[in-house]
């Protein structure tokens, strides 16, 4: 059993110049990483860190996190990872629970009291170079029950739990991953996940252990980062959560298949890809191995599915997969006895192996409940088919008991997710409003244009038993998710319980909430009759003092569109006006108004919004461009607009680009604290 730190010490000697960790401009070789670990360990010792301590640190997505992690272990102390985005109060709470010796962070604490000294992680990392004391980092030889790290998870019910991983557990978690998933030395893995999370840590450890390269990234907030990283560092592997598939697809648009097609494999963790996502992603990335792993803080990665293979077998398409080598799984009843399971007789998932956690920090009672005879009894309801494949029905707490029948929220979500007009959905159990069945399934959906509730219900009733059909379908803009992008079922339940406003949802509201800007289009033409309807919506908009002095100029010939684009670009350059996002629309409506009309801009704006909503209702994408507001009279634009017949005294307030979308637009988060009732 070679521990990760010892392995890194060896790699520093054997492959000193190989890149270990990359973050933007900072590249650490294995030798460089080793020097950082050594220097930081020397500094930590100077601050009194010793065997048996716990050191908390902000798990920032930067090389200093990796160096701190190993430096802490090199001192014989346990590493405790903190969510880098957590508030000072939460950080203080975990430090206190862990009985930390030190906290390493660069986040301003805003006067929050911390129970231990606080050092700057960045300074410690920078000062490490000055230590020059390589002898500080020697191989470790921990006892079997020595704690390597504690992973605090917030769970769904408030109180954080600290999962204790010994060196033995950590070693087996990484060897299970390496053997089962096949991590290689030539892997250069892009890791855009929060590093305090068990999945991210597992991947980080495994890639470093194999002498590969890890490229760190701060999540997916900045659309271009993933693309930049893949191109700059030649990444050939990616670890992601299922929801980031959707995020990447909508952000990267046509670049998605080109950029991600370079991967040898993509491992999805911290949640299952839905069957629809599995089909979609394997079709888009045919030469990439798509993996989906089930894991937890308590077990590391435990159940593995090669999606690229499973997806072709209808009976296996949604499977969790089979256990990784070194992991045993059973399906058990509430007493913990093994049962024969099948789709209609599920039980709890129990796992055993050397990778299991030692228990929960300072929670012996909870540990006893969860660990029985060396088996970890999880809260997940599963069944195993005749070929040994495991299938997930949901958290035991989430299984819906409706009139004595059990309904798996995941099964409902999988089925509804296959209905064409559903973007995403989540199912929860709620009290039966009629008070008859105990609980009933309620489905929250985020829909595409063209969705009709009757159609969904018909689809579900053709494919599922009656009692599984949601009693109520609630349309919302997006499914609320936790920090790992899993559906936040607590929040959904809260929304259901406070649903007065939702009862007033209707197709118009649905369109208002779901429309997004679309900037790339297929070359499909928009039928004239539909354009006529869309324009009708435009001139039915309100007009101040009923002036109706507006004009709607419709361009449908590609030659006109290209000419206008070219001239607009030229004029924009000459006049230093910002111009972008034109795309390749199949039609454009120029909304202009008499410049003497003081409400001209307002009228045109209302009309433009009507046009975009009407377009949406026909499944047509749109985006508002307004370069002509400033360039109306600038040559060479002016002559073109004049030639289109726009009156000389008209200002073009809005240019609405229209076309059938290539893919969905990005959903933008909406600020909700902007409404004030007086």
């Amino acid at each position: 059993m070679e521990h990760l730190l010892n392995r890194l010490i060896r790699l520093a000697a054997e492959k000193p110049d190989k890149q270990a960790v990359i973050f933007k401009k900072e590249k650490l070789t294995y030798r460089g990483l080793y020097l950082k670990i050594s220097g930081m360990a020397a500094l930590l010792k100077q601050h009194g860190v010793t065997h048996g301590d716990r050191v908390c640190f902000a798990a920032v997505s930067m090389p200093q996190m990796v160096a701190a992690y190993m430096a802490v272990q090199s001192c014989g102390a346990a590493a405790v990872f903190l969510d880098k985005n957590s508030a000072p109060l939460q950080m203080a709470d975990i430090c206190k629970r862990a009985g930390a010796r030190l906290l390493l962070t660069d986040k301003p604490l805003g006067g929050q009291k911390i129970c231990c000294p606080v050092l700057s992680l960045r300074q410690l990392y920078e000062q490490a170079d000055l230590q020059g004391n390589e002898a500080a980092c020697t191989k470790i030889d921990p006892a079997a029950d020595d704690i390597a790290e504690i992973l605090f998870t917030t769970g769904t019910t408030g109180m954080p739990k600290g999962v204790i991983l010994t060196y033995v557990s950590v070693y087996h978690i990484l060897s299970n991953t390496i053997k089962g998933i096949g991590i290689r030395e030539d892997d250069c893995l892009l890791l855009p996940l929060p590093l305090h999370h068990s999945f991210a840590l597992r991947v980080l450890r495994a890639v470093l252990y194999q002498g590969g390269t890890v490229v760190l990234q701060n999540g997916f907030t900045f659309a271009k980062e993933a693309e930049k990283n893949v191109e700059a560092f030649g990444c050939n592997a990616l670890a992601a959560v299922p929801a980031s598939f959707e995020v990447m697809k909508s952000q990267m648009q046509e670049a998605f298949a080109r950029v991600l097609g370079k991967m040898r494999y993509i491992e999805f963790g911290a949640g299952s890809l839905s069957i629809r996502q599995r089909r979609e992603i394997t079709a888009l990335l045919q030469d990439v191995q798509i993996y989906n792993t089930w894991g937890s803080s308590e077990t590391g990665g435990a159940i593995f599915c090669n999606v690229s293979e499973a997806v072709h077998d209808k009976t296996k398409a949604g499977t969790l997969g089979k256990t990784l080598p070194g992991v045993r799984a059973r399906v058990v009843d509430t007493e913990g006895n093994e049962i024969e399971s099948d789709a209609s007789h599920p039980g709890r998932l129990a796992l055993k192996g050397d990778m299991l956690m030692a228990g929960y920090w300072s929670q012996p009672e909870l540990t006893k409940q969860m660990l029985k005879d060396g088996w970890l009894i999880t809260g997940d309801m599963v069944y195993q088919d005749a070929d040994g494949f495991l299938f997930m029905l949901g958290r035991a707490d989430d299984i819906i008991n409706t009139g004595g029948e059990k309904v798996s929220p995941i099964e409902v979500e999988e089925m509804a997710g296959q209905y064409e007009w559903i973007r995403e959905c989540a199912c929860i159990g709620t009290d039966d409003p009629d008070g008859v069945l105990g609980q009933v399934p309620v489905l929250f959906v985020s829909v595409k244009s063209g969705y009709q509730e009757d159609g969904l219900l018909k689809f579900l009733s053709e494919n599922m038993e009656r009692y599984k059909i949601p009693k109520k379908i609630v349309s919302i803009q997006e499914i609320p998710r936790n920090h790992m992008y899993k559906p936040d079922r607590q929040k959904l339940l809260w929304m259901w319980e406070n649903r007065e406003a939702m009862d007033f949802m209707n197709p118009v509201m649905q369109a208002l909430l779901a429309r997004r800007s679309i900037r790339s289009y297929t070359d499909q033409k928009i039928p004239r009759q539909i354009l006529d309807m869309i324009l009708k919506a435009g001139y039915h908009a309100p007009s101040g003092h009923n002036m109706q002095s507006w004009r709607f100029t419709v361009l449908t010939r590609q030659s006109d569109l290209l000419l206008l684009k070219e001239k607009a670009e030229e004029a924009a350059r000459k006049n230093s006006v910002y111009f972008y996002g034109w795309g390749n629309p199949s039609a454009m409506v120029l909304v202009s108004n008499d410049k003497r009309n003081p409400d001209g801009c307002q009228d045109a704006s209302c009309a433009a919004q009507n046009i975009m909503l009407a377009a949406y209702s026909y499944g047509i994408g749109s985006v508002w461009l307004n370069p002509f507001m400033t360039l109306r009279s600038a040559e060479p634009v002016k002559s073109v607009l004049d030639a289109f017949g726009i009156p000389e005294n008209h200002i073009v307030w809005a240019a609405v680009a229209l076309g059938y979308p290539v893919s969905e637009g990005a959903a933008l988060k909406k600020k909700e604290d902007v409404v004030r009732y007086v």
């Binding site: 985005n85 957590s86 960045r122 900045f222 659309a223 271009k224 988060k669």
Partner: protein, 75 residues
């Protein structure tokens, strides 16, 4: 320009210490909604458009980088 940018941001988000770090994103001080709000505040205050290509991490990690971006976009 740095002072002016800091003033605008501090007024919008009094609870965040923007001068505390040269790695506001990396250190976990800014989340995505805050970044959206910063873009709006800077665009309006300085009469600029922050295009898609400029919404990258390195432009948002420090007040200095933000100020440089604003200068650049004001042309």
């Amino acid at each position: 320009m740095e002072e002016k940018v800091l003033e605008v941001l501090a007024q919008e988000y009094p609870q965040i210490d923007f001068s505390a770090s040269q790695a506001l994103v990396d250190d976990g001080i800014l989340d995505s909604l805050t970044i959206t709000g910063m873009i709006a505040a800077l665009s309006m205050e300085f009469g600029i458009v922050i295009p898609y290509e400029e919404i990258i991490e390195e432009n948002f990690n420090s007040v200095k980088a933000l100020a440089q971006m604003v200068e650049r976009l004001r042309g």
